[in-house]
């Protein structure tokens, strides 16, 4: 007979336990989020990251060891990003009908999302590494992390900033739009999806069907637009 300690030493170095733990944590966090009516404060991505981080810290597991298992999940970010083409294709008729407002709002919005980080970040004295990782924060996480990595930023920091941006946007969008007296739900949804990607889109679907559709369109288009705008902003700050 081997002791439980031996078992732990054996398991903690194999990818299997970290892959299983990542999936189970995600399923649990999704279930909690579903039961609380998808309240942005219990966003399953954030809850999962916090719980797994806690486990890593408490048991003193190096990130590299965790990632050996979790990399199989991480790999699917690429095909999932490509998959955004499908909803865009399905909704193409809607996009064509409002092509000009969409194109204008996409252009202005994607520049606003990126340039506001450069200006505010510089004013508040953020380090250059943080600013670079911050720039793509309104794009969906897979794209944002890839952009960040290609410019020498930190994809991990980007992932967390993307999720926090999603949560902040999802929390403020409805009261903010009501305050601004915007009643055009296509416009409201588009702004939510452009600013806060999937988390904003999920929020928009809860408020209004049209808003949700335009949020999904904005998320797909801004993934592409952010990929083009961020390298320009990075060149601007000399990166």
């Amino acid at each position: 007979m081997r002791s439980p300690v031996d078992l732990w030493v054996y398991l903690s170095t194999s990818p299997l336990i970290w892959l299983t733990l990542t999936l189970c944590t995600w399923i649990g966090a999704s279930e909690v989020s579903r039961r609380l009516d998808r309240n942005p404060l219990v966003n399953p991505v954030l809850t999962s990251i916090l719980l797994l981080s806690l486990v890593m810290t408490v048991f003193d597991i190096p990130y590299q060891q965790f990632f050996e298992g979790a990399q199989f999940v991480h790999f699917l970010l690429g095909p999932a990003t490509v998959a955004i083409a499908v909803p865009l294709f399905r909704q193409w008729a809607q996009v064509k009908r409002l092509l000009l407002p969409i194109a204008a709002a996409l252009f202005v919005g994607s520049f606003a999302a990126v340039s506001s980080v450069v200006v505010l970040g510089t004013l508040l004295g953020l380090s250059e590494d943080v600013v670079v990782s911050f720039l793509p924060k309104s794009a969906t996480a897979g794209v944002a992390m890839a952009i960040s990595a290609s410019l020498g930023g930190s994809p991990s920091l980007t992932a967390v900033l993307v999720i926090l941006t999603g949560i902040v946007g999802a929390l403020i969008v409805t009261p903010f739009m009501n305050l601004m007296r915007v009643r055009d739900y296509a416009a409201r949804g588009f702004a939510a999806g452009l600013t806060s990607h999937g988390i904003g889109t999920a929020r928009a679907y809860e408020v209004d069907e049209t808003a949700g559709l335009f949020a999904a369109i904005a998320m797909a288009l801004n993934a592409v637009a952010t990929s083009a705008v961020v390298p320009l902003a990075a060149a601007w700050i000399g990166r």
Partner: protein
């Protein structure tokens, strides 16, 4: 489903290859997204069997999109020092930038739609 997953991976491979060869400063999967979108538009009349397979694989992946960025997010533990030191400034940039982006995006959309004279809010 399997055929759909293969198609998604194939377009990612195309995208990554194009980025590698041309040196475009855009992530490979985004180029794959654009290529797949263009292919779907061009081929929607013909590929009657493959398109539903791609749609099935896409909705399976997009339905759990959040899961895929958990592993990288956990890596932020290693960056705790940075986040702690600059936490206040990071929070300020996060909130102000989100409000600013929401505002200019919605105003641009509404203004251009009004200019074009389309009044309906239902899409």
């Amino acid at each position: 489903m399997l055929r759909g997953l293969a198609a998604l991976l194939f377009f990612q491979l195309l995208g990554e290859s194009l980025v590698f060869v041309t040196g475009l400063p855009v992530p490979g999967p985004v180029v794959g997204l654009v290529l797949l979108f263009l292919s779907l538009l061009a081929l929607q009349g013909s590929l009657r069997e493959t398109i539903p397979a791609v749609e099935a694989a896409a909705s399976a992946l997009l339905g759990n999109l959040g899961l895929f960025f958990v592993p990288a997010g956990v890596g932020v533990v290693a960056l705790w020092g940075v986040v702690q030191d600059e936490g206040g400034a990071i929070a300020a940039v996060l909130v102000v930038s989100a409000v600013f982006t929401l505002a200019v995006t919605v105003w641009t959309f509404v203004a251009v739609r009004r200019l074009l004279g389309s009044k309906d809010t239902a899409a």
